[in-house]
Symmetry: C2
Subunit: 332 residues, 2 copies
């Protein structure tokens, strides 16, 4: 295993030290493994907490900051954070208007965030509401989930809800908005190679040199099928077809994210985006906004995913609102 690490068991603690050293606008609670804004938001606004297993960077810690999250809980690689971490994050960011948990649909995350919400309510009287992201059209149930997996849409959800919270939306309004984002968002991913989890020391799965996996999950969970290695144009079609079969995007203005899995260079991501954009145009779908790069990764996996979100005017305006995080930054 070739990685820039000191020891498999120290990866998370060491990476958190690096994040703290790199970003003075953030603060790291090393004991609880929570990444927070150095300057908390104003009193009276809803705070947003997310989190999950590490290995998906910049998600979630890289999306803490003005216009997105207030805190992110970092679990070990591909392992849910504990309820204690989530409770600590929730208590730290509450500004008197309640806390929204944004949770990717994985059984461990859901269970732990649920427990954390109960603890926060019981011990600190904090009102917590939960939004579950479940956008992956690849599979109905999976290794780690009942229902669809939460993947790329999480990035868009955190941006849009983060802007709304900054503008003073209350918990009910945020949950209603999240429902609309969920209803309009779909994702599909693929892998050229496996990732290698540091503690495992070997690739999660084998993928022959002439094959790729369509519908892969962000932890290397199996997808829909393995097929012969295709061209970028073919891959774009294999990612978009299941999305468009699942939901009608014709005529809709969409936010498109072409996301890298961690081991794919940017030149290939741009090339893939060109293919996706051309296909969308052919389908009469208007690209209103786009994002190309590594936003929700799977360690060193080579591959990409596509996320589409049917965005109404409110979502577009929240998308365009200023954001200042390590992973996403514009407009202020």
């Amino acid at each position: 295993m070739k990685k820039l690490i000191n020891a498999p068991e120290a990866v998370l603690a060491d990476a958190l030290r690096g994040i703290e050293a790199a970003h003075r606008e953030l603060r790291v609670d090393h004991e609880n493994r929570v990444i927070l804004r150095a300057t908390p938001k104003d009193h009276g606004t809803v705070a947003l907490v997310s989190g999950g297993g590490s290995g998906h960077e910049p998600l979630h810690g890289g999306f803490v900051g003005f216009g997105m999250l207030d805190a992110a809980c970092a679990g070990e690689v591909f392992t849910s954070p504990t309820p204690d971490q989530m409770q600590a994050a929730t208590a730290a960011v509450d500004r008197g208007a309640g806390v929204l948990h944004i949770v990717k649909n994985y059984t461990g995350d859901i269970m732990n965030f649920e427990m954390a919400a109960e603890l926060a309510a019981a011990e600190s009287s904090i009102e917590v509401r939960t939004v579950i992201v479940a956008d992956d059209v690849a599979v109905q149930d999976s290794l780690y989930t009942a229902g669809r997996r939460g993947v790329g849409l999480t990035v868009l959800m955190e941006k849009i809800l983060g802007a709304a919270a900054e503008q003073g939306y209350d918990l009910d309004a945020l949950v209603a908005l999240a429902d609309r984002v969920n209803a309009g968002g779909r994702s599909m991913g693929m892998a050229l190679t496996s990732c290698t989890v540091p503690s495992a020391g070997a690739p999660t799965f084998d993928l022959p040199e002439d094959e790729m996996e369509i519908g892969i999950g962000i932890h290397g969970e199996p997808g829909r099928h393995r097929v012969p290695l295709g061209s970028a144009a073919e891959i774009a079609q294999q990612l978009l077809d299941p999305i468009l079969a699942d939901r009608d995007y014709a005529g809709a203005p969409v936010i498109v994210m072409l996301n890298g899995m961690g081991g794919t260079p940017l030149i290939e991501l741009y090339l893939m985006f060109g293919e996706v954009a051309a296909l969308l145009e052919k389908h009469g779908i208007t690209v209103a906004r786009s994002l190309v790069g590594d936003y929700i990764t799977s360690l060193d996996m080579a591959g990409c995913s596509v996320t589409l979100l049917h965005a109404d005017d409110e979502m577009l305006s929240l998308w365009d609102a200023p954001v200042e995080t390590p992973g996403l930054r514009w407009g202020r």
Copy 2:
């Protein structure tokens, strides 16, 4: 070879289509393979042109925009653009105050930019000055250079000069500033794996599973030595020692870039940055600003590089000035 491409010979043209589709604030001259701002800067200010072989994204096309470059010429992967491309870029962006070429120190790039400058002067009466970046302490001469290779400092150079040009610095002032950036900047890189050039179809070099290469170039050129795979802390030392042996940074405020080579996930880059920051502190070097991520890559190579720049107040203020490019964005 596993890549998200259509065909090796179409990589650049296809990627340029994707860049254009993703960034409406940019314009792509497909015939000349030049990436430009959609909205040119004001008349009477110096325009900045850079460029080089592709495969280093976001460099250079991703640094076109307000506060950085006016145009970037994209050569084939790891191949210099032609003088024609550079001349077209130069003519397109000149706003009557001359054009500055920012050139990484590679023989082909230098020769072609020199020819382009002569053509632009002769045919369009454009005053062109050239800045050469040569910051890699790994080797004195190399496969493709006389003198040091130009690597990570190029990103900092483009940011700092771009801000200065935006503020109205003339050609002489920009060249003088560039000399100071060159004097204060040093870089050193390492690789865990080779990259694979699409047209070659196979890794550029073999690196055994238990070895790494210290002092690697951004095209996979040989470095200083191959050594047993080390820990992140050891790697940080092996990158910093040659830099600090070459120039005294004690007490200086520095801008630090911890750059990924393209195939290394962000969690490892943050981890490496933590080690670098700790070592700098031990050496009494103050980190004034930092940048962690993929900024000058080598296709899918796994590895990283460190760049230090001794920054005076003027450089820091130019560093902090607003920038709006796909690859670097803050402050406005």
